[in-house]
């Protein structure tokens, strides 16, 4: 499904073929702790097509952020990428020298974080940071041109009085305005890929609505593919074309948002949707998923969701389910996904 919001087609880019823009395969990430290595990502992977918005959902500890961050070489010790393949536009990022990887980040790949305060420099004015972001990747750009472009960007993301605002510092911005400034920095170099890690989680719901609108706008303006990492299924429903559901460091289901949310084919996805408090429908008891997610490192031989799963049987506890297609463009890592399909039609 394509987003109905995108009016113009994304500007054409020089890219070989119609393959994915970013492809992560079988990524394994460990964290060293006092009590030995803990597996945070256990063979996760997904592909992002040019121009699409891919939602990555999961609860805390599911590895949804670590997967994206380590794919871009942004994971610091005690974290360590053990194995896996990460290909961005034909380039293997895992073998790329750190210098070139850095040039890619902030250039063709941009990031938006949950907390703009950690991503913005508190002692530099917003304008200076925007100009720096611009000129770092375009050495030829003149000061005047950078200043003009910075004002344009700030106006684009809906910060009123851009000229005055450029001279202000991050602490003079409200939470919503800071997030806008960070988005302006992210799109400054017209990226091909935007990684947004919980971009609206720290915001109030009315401000979140504004920022979601802005993300829609920037997608239209830049045509960049977006990886939207969030715990909020509602945000994914509003913004994403496809969704990847992660659990215990693995991808358990992926496919088009409407299909996955409308007819989940993995018991975890279904449980997640059912446990969600809603604004409409039955207002009383919620249907929680029993138990708790496994602690990282608490590896089981079979399916990580088995201890909490109503469908689980012996096979689930011994044999790890691999992702298998459940329809066009979608897959589920459940031995018994067909039972969920039958249930729905019954």
């Amino acid at each position: 499904m394509k987003a109905p919001h995108r009016k113009a087609a994304p500007p054409p880019r020089e890219r070989p073929g119609n393959g994915p823009l970013l492809e992560i395969e079988d990524l394994v990430v460990d964290f060293a702790t006092d009590d030995g290595a803990v597996r945070a990502v256990d063979g996760a992977g997904y592909a992002v097509m040019p121009g699409e918005t891919l939602g990555v959902v999961g609860e805390s500890g599911s590895g949804k952020s670590v997967t994206a961050l380590s794919a871009l070489g942004l994971i610091k010790p005690p974290g360590r990428v053990v194995s896996g393949r990460v290909v961005f536009d034909g380039t293997d990022l895992r073998t790329l020298p750190p210098r070139e990887l850095r040039r890619l980040r902030g250039g063709r790949i941009a990031m938006i974080f949950q907390d703009p305060m950690t991503a913005l420099n508190p002692v530099m004015s917003i304008g200076a940071q925007l100009r720096e972001a611009l000129r770092l990747h375009r050495p030829g750009m003149s000061r005047a041109a950078a200043r003009k472009r910075a004002a344009e960007l700030l106006t684009l993301v809906g910060v009123p009085g851009a000229e005055r605002r450029l001279r202000q510092y991050p602490h003079e911005f409200s939470g919503g305005m800071r997030q806008r400034a960070m988005i302006a920095m992210a799109i400054a170099n017209d990226p091909d890929l935007l990684i947004a890690d919980e971009p609206t989680t720290a915001l109030d719901v009315t401000v979140q609505a504004q920022v979601l609108d802005l993300l829609r706008l920037t997608r239209r303006e830049t045509g960049a593919a977006t990886v939207l990492i969030t715990h909020d299924l509602g945000v994914v429903a509003e913004l994403a074309d496809r969704v990847v559901v992660m659990y215990a460091g693995r991808v358990v289901e992926h496919g088009p948002v409407a299909e996955i949310f409308g007819a989940p084919r993995h018991p975890y996805t279904r449980g997640l949707l059912e446990s969600l408090p809603r604004l409409d429908g039955d207002a009383d008891e919620l249907t929680p998923i029993p138990g708790t997610p496994p602690a990282p490192g608490e590896a089981a031989p079979g399916c990580p969701f088995a201890p909490r799963c109503a469908l689980a049987r012996d096979r689930c506890r011994t044999e790890r389910p691999e992702l298998a297609p459940t329809g066009p463009g979608r897959a589920s890592a459940c031995h018994f996904h067909h039972e969920l399909a039958e249930e729905k039609t019954a």
């Binding site: 964290f31 009590d35 803990v38 805390s60 961050l69 005690p78 974290g79 708790t292 990282p296």
Partner: protein, 299 residues
Amino acid sequence: MTTITTSPAIKKAPSASPRARALRRFRRNRLAVAGAAVLGAVVLVTLLAPLIAGHPPNTVDLYAIRQGPSGAHWFGTDSSGRDVFARTLYAGRVSLLVGLTAALAAITVGTLLGAVSGLFGGWADHVIMRAADIVMSFPTVVVILVLAGIVGPSMTVLIAAIGLTQWPVAGRVVRGVTLSLRDREYIHAAEAAGANAWWLIRKHIVPAALPPVTVTGTLAVAQAIMLETTASFLGLGVRPPQASWGNMLNEAQNLTLIQTMPWLWIPPGVAIAVTVLAVNFVGDGLRDAVTPAGQGGGR
């Protein structure tokens, strides 16, 4: 949902109290363990002095003054013919006693004042912290000098003087801990249950402050031993004939003795250096054990 997803929460931590975990980290620090072993040996040897020394520490033997080390007197004898080995051991008791008591006094006063200062804030905080500033701007040796001048030098004066001048270090640490705790929700929960300030100090602040205070306390012990040495060396501390490492050095304070009779000053000198070094190693090890890297402050 504020979750730091880059470092997965370790839910299956081993079942152990925070103290047990700190102890485990301490044991991994070789220098600290060596320091603790040396310190333990020093304490043991001084406690067992009557069994080991072979000679009483204060018995004058005018027929055997300033003799070099021998089979009868391992470390030789001093200007009054007293056995230097025995005196070094007994002096250790005095120096360690003064060091420990004075440090304990300093951290007790400091903990209470720091907790009150942090918990109540306002003018109480103001008065206590200014008092701390004033105390810290006084050289301790001068305070000892004045006190000794007024009431005469003694061990009690020494302990009181060190306690009075060293409390601000612990006081500031505890105040800092208290400030960081004051707005913790579990403190609010205790208040909501009806707890008063004394309850909060006893049940929450002191236990939380104990690890950092232990560290400052250990370092204060080293500091107090040094101060005892200095004061006694200047004749303002422990009064002869009772031996302390400081006044033993005092007896060797002329150039001829230093050059010709090293057995008079090397034993107390080495004892001081080894003990203070060991205490400092233990202190550093404790500090690293209670504030492990990457576990910011420990809530």
